[in-house]
Symmetry: C2
Subunit: 659 residues, 2 copies
């Protein structure tokens, strides 16, 4: 059924009557649901328990929720992203389709998300900080208490009795306990015959003068040297990482990672915020990320053979949107001018309030962020990179779904966020994809024949191109002379691979018979523009930051690259397209996931935790959208590698050699 | 069907098969439930949603859960409280009956609890404390804040912006906010266009130096002089009282009271504790009392036409068991030697953790108690009575379901609890009943004819005798010469009203044709013994306390009587039976519900709150069951009025006159 023949269907009376919607897919039995007139097809699908991905958050932008209406009466709010051909075949976007009668829908097979997570590679590198010393560094303590049993001569209540022991045996002047722990107190004291093991949250600098908060109480005296479990969590927009750590030795016992379950409701933070602003959207977002984290907890705990209830401390980082969504705090104003977070420094919360499936009174410490688009992942990243201790000026860069930049040293730090967009994660590019099996991750182009050679993740036929592949491809096309400075495809070169596409010139990397999909894999003029905008946004961020503090960008002592993205890119090629500044290669450090590493350091050592706070308060945030020089810097960077070739001497040299 | 003919029923195979239990009652349609072999009939009833009262907590003591098994196969664990006749008719106690086959049960009509609550009488008496001064007394504050709106030049997060205003405009150095309030913060700030009204919990002595905790935030600037609502709650074992108070004027706007919903699961604290120790028992107890309180809140708020969400502070008193059950804290050890509470001084808790349907972050302050049987109702009662400020020694007495006594002055306080039992509340006495319509509340007996005259609550025919009536009856029978010193009924008197009952001599107060029930109302020898044990326990408590501190009881300057019980008794008669010490009448003060009044005082004034804490820590608790002299004192008091008539000169005089 196509929309052009919709008039063949007898018009049905529009009323508040309910309609039967049937969903047919190859993967499962047909499912049906009753909904009233005016229901969004995407909502009907959710009610029927049919999973339809909505990476753009239901804005009709991404086209991933396209379904085929084979029969029925619906109204399309938007036909964006659908060709005339598709519309004729009855395709519609579930997020833009309003039900007006009984309808039958064919759900195309959802592409299963394949996984290429960096778990094992990173695992080998983690070492506890040199000289890590549990008693002086940790804000939690395990202590043994022996209480005098009550008698007719000593009828002190259980809680006062415990407090007396804490005062007499350990020196804590005051102590706090939660209602749930109070509820289990009598049984615990008696099961241990008045000997208990308490885990306390304290201030390690002045342990006895401050108030000790009880996290767990267990009967009997538990081996003092057995591990005391904590977790460090980085909630990335795309990937959530969790490290399970023994707080006594500082050793990382498990590292696990998983796609953020919120992806199904938006790939970037803006889509997530928009989804979370809908009715029940915030609750769904919260539930989805908690399911991801609790799933990771389960995996990590099984691997180490412990119960998640033994985990008594969690340190959490993530961009400001991720932290807001985790805590169920409205993120709406992050998206709207003048871009305001609800909170940058969340208070310490018990795990039961956050919803983490660890000890209910475990301390959950969400590290401080700086602004709407510079969150705790960056302050923790700076800590992990060591930038805050360097005498010389360094540049810290974390390119994830967004790009955040910090310039500075131990004396000063300036930061900004570039809305680079998710082009380097494969979105907004026709054949772009995430770095999973089948993605072209590196490319070389022969400057004479213009024939490419590429490497595919997993080694099979290619399905598309991931971020590192796109950077390499752009650089190679430029150096080989396929692209000019402005990013235009040269038409006059002697190769079939350059051709006229729907949106200007395009380059064919792989022919249909070489690919997994059976279609050509190409890079079009539109793709090139998107990639250039992304790289220009990041480079303009560098320039503006440097200009703001009167520093020459090329003089930076170090370029510290965080995020798993950085682990796979080829610096030479990133410099060639003008994404990274042209400085000697030895000054680049690729650090992997600096966010989770910073969280780990803060988890172990309260002084490191203090340093993150200091980093957050020290950072001067530059709002690029309010900066007059940014637009100019951005336009100057919208060339390959840049308008000012003098800034890219090594690239000039390569170009001179090849011409 | 009687138990003697149970053998006529073919024995059914005992297996884990399930059986159908049908409950038939006059009040509702028959209800049925499927349960496995071995289920307690009382549990089956609960599962079927059939309400069967269990005042003794399911111990088979009270006989109130008797039902008639008309058909089926059950096994009786105990036949206590059932006559042979009743057993023959198939009567069984639901709490003692085990199901072994399909069964049909006739549920007798439950006596509806009638209400005679003291709301209105007390209402007229309450005046705010003299010189009550909100700004110096209250630990909550309403403040207006005007925040600078955010802009591209000032992207401070909402929470920091609010904190800055609190610091700059009011002087609070630090402030705290809960996660739920954070979740509503952005909407509140924007709805009020950056003007908000905050209610804060502060320390009134050093408001700015301490940390202010935010209780509520509302958009705009709300009239500073509009009421600020708080509640004082007394959770009695029998009755829950709630006062709704404007914290600015100190005025009590509503006073409401209601039977504690836990009564259906036990009339005294011991039965409640036993019930709460069963599976889900604690949760049921908590739910029941919360339903009572939240119902009262609803009534009070409707009367004053406010929303319960406007209530931002609650002060709670009750005996230790009631407070434990409210907070879901195990009360089991209160009942077991050496009688240990889990906690005497609960921490401040937010209303949402307690389960009160007021502002979720309202402070709930459960005042401190002293021991298992001397709770916050007594410390608050002492405050309300003023005993803690007296120069001279006074005696404070609160006779409710238990009897608590405090002896002392502003310099020292000793206290004890007498397990008087609920005889004065009408329990354990054949024709005893609560002080509701139909209860004989006062009696006079002619010393020559032995004919009685009595007064009935509500003025109709009598159904039974309440506490004040029992005291009067006992005194009159003694003074008229019907009872001797030892409580034996004299048989040789010329009146039909004295006769031989099932358990010794008894006296008929009302003949069957004069009563509502159509049966004689009598006081038996067993009843007299129970009443004498109760009064002896209380008087022995007085004696032991006085002896412990070397004080002559009759020298007390004041006898301060708390509890609604005290409002109705006749002092002369209470002295005649030896319940109260024989001192001049003018020294007796009847104060009504001192517990809720003390809670009210502590609600209004933080210094009064401090005084309750001081009272609690100052009180020396004497555990009577561990005291060697108590038994002796008790035995001496098991006479009318006492072995030592020298202690009761006014009673001697009356006796000499009448003989």
């Amino acid at each position: 059924m196509g929309w052009d023949i919709q008039s063949d269907v007898p018009p049905q009376p529009i009323s508040m009557a309910t309609h039967t919607i049937i969903f047919i897919s190859a993967e499962a039995k047909p499912k049906s649901v009753q909904v009233p007139t005016g229901t969004l097809l995407a909502d009907a699908a959710r009610q029927a328990g049919v999973e339809i991905g909505q990476p753009c958050g239901g804005q009709g932008r991404c086209g991933r929720c396209a379904v085929q209406v084979t029969q029925g009466n619906v109204r399309l709010r938007s036909t964006l992203r659908l060709s005339n051909e598709a519309l004729e075949q009855g395709y519609a976007l579930a997020c833009q389709t309003i039900i007006e009668g009984d309808t039958t829908v064919l759900v195309p097979e959802q592409e299963k998300i394949e996984r290429r997570l960096t778990t094992d590679r990173v695992a080998a590198e983690v070492r506890p900080p040199v000289g890590y010393d549990y008693p002086h560094s940790q804000s939690v303590r395990r202590i043994h208490l022996s209480l005098d049993p009550p008698s007719m001569d000593d009828q002190t209540d259980d809680w006062s009795r415990l407090q007396t022991a804490l005062r007499a045996q350990v020196g804590f002047e005051t102590s706090e306990i939660s209602l749930p722990l109070l509820q289990s107190l009598p049984a615990t004291l008696r099961a241990g015959e008045w000997r208990v093991t308490a885990i306390l949250a304290i201030h390690p600098e002045r342990p006895t003068a401050s108030s000790a908060r009880i996290i767990t109480l267990q009967p009997g005296h538990i081996d003092e040297y057995s591990p005391l479990w904590g977790i460090a969590i980085d909630i990335g927009t795309t990937t959530v990482s969790l490290w399970l750590v023994d707080l006594i030795s500082g050793k990382v016992h498990a590292q696990v990672a998983e796609y953020n379950g919120q992806i199904a409701r938006g790939e970037d933070v803006i889509s997530r915020i928009m989804f979370s602003s809908k009715a029940n959207g915030a609750e769904e977002m919260r539930t989805r990320v908690l399911e991801t984290i609790n799933g990771l907890l389960d995996t990590a705990c099984k691997r180490v053979q412990i119960d998640a209830g033994e985990i008594i401390k969690a340190t959490v980082v993530g961009n400001s949107t991720m932290i807001h969504l985790l805590l169920g705090i409205p993120a709406e104003n992050i998206r709207l001018t003048p871009f305001i977070t609800t909170i940058n420094q969340p208070p310490l919360l018990p795990a039961r309030e956050v919803g983490l499936a660890i000890a209910p009174d475990a301390c959950v410490d969400c590290l401080p962020g700086v602004a709407s688009y510079v969150g705790a992942d960056i302050t923790a990243g700076v800590l992990a990179s060591g930038q805050n201790r360097l005498e010389e000026v360094a540049l810290f860069l974390d390119v994830g779904t967004n790009g955040e930049i910090v310039l500075g040293s131990r004396d000063w730090l300036v930061t900004c966020a570039c809305s680079a967009g998710p082009a380097f994660e494969g979105a907004g590019v026709r054949n772009g994809m995430r770095a999973t099996t089948g993605a072209i991750e590196d490319v070389w182009i022969n400057s004479e024949t213009y024939e490419p050679v590429f490497r595919v993740i997993g080694g099979g036929k290619p399905k598309g191109i991931c971020g590192s592949g796109l950077i390499a491809l752009l650089a190679e096309m430029f150096v080989a002379g396929i692209l000019d400075k402005a990013g235009s495809v040269k038409r006059d070169l002697p190769t079939r691979r350059i051709r006229e596409g729907n949106h200007g010139g395009e380059y064919v990397i792989a022919w249909a018979d070489e690919t997994e999909t059976g279609e050509d894999i190409v890079l079009s003029r539109v793709d090139v523009d998107n990639l250039m905008r992304a790289k220009a946004a990041i480079y303009a961020g560098f320039s503006v930051l440097a200009e703001q503090v009167g520093f020459i960008l090329e003089d930076v002592h170090k370029v510290l690259i965080g995020g798993s993205f950085g682990k796979y890119i080829n610096v030479e090629k990133a410099v060639q397209i003008g994404l990274l500044p042209d400085i000697p290669w030895e000054r680049f450090d690729f650090l992997g996931n600096t966010a989770v590493r910073g969280a780990y350091q803060a988890l172990l050592d309260w002084r490191e935790r203090e340093r993150v706070k200091q980093i957050a308060s020290q950072m001067t945030y530059i709002e690029l959208s309010a900066d007059n020089t940014f637009y100019e810097a951005f336009m100057s960077a919208m060339f390959l590698p840049h308008t000012d070739l003098g800034r890219f001497p090594s690239v000039s040299a390569v170009l001179n050699k090849s011409t």
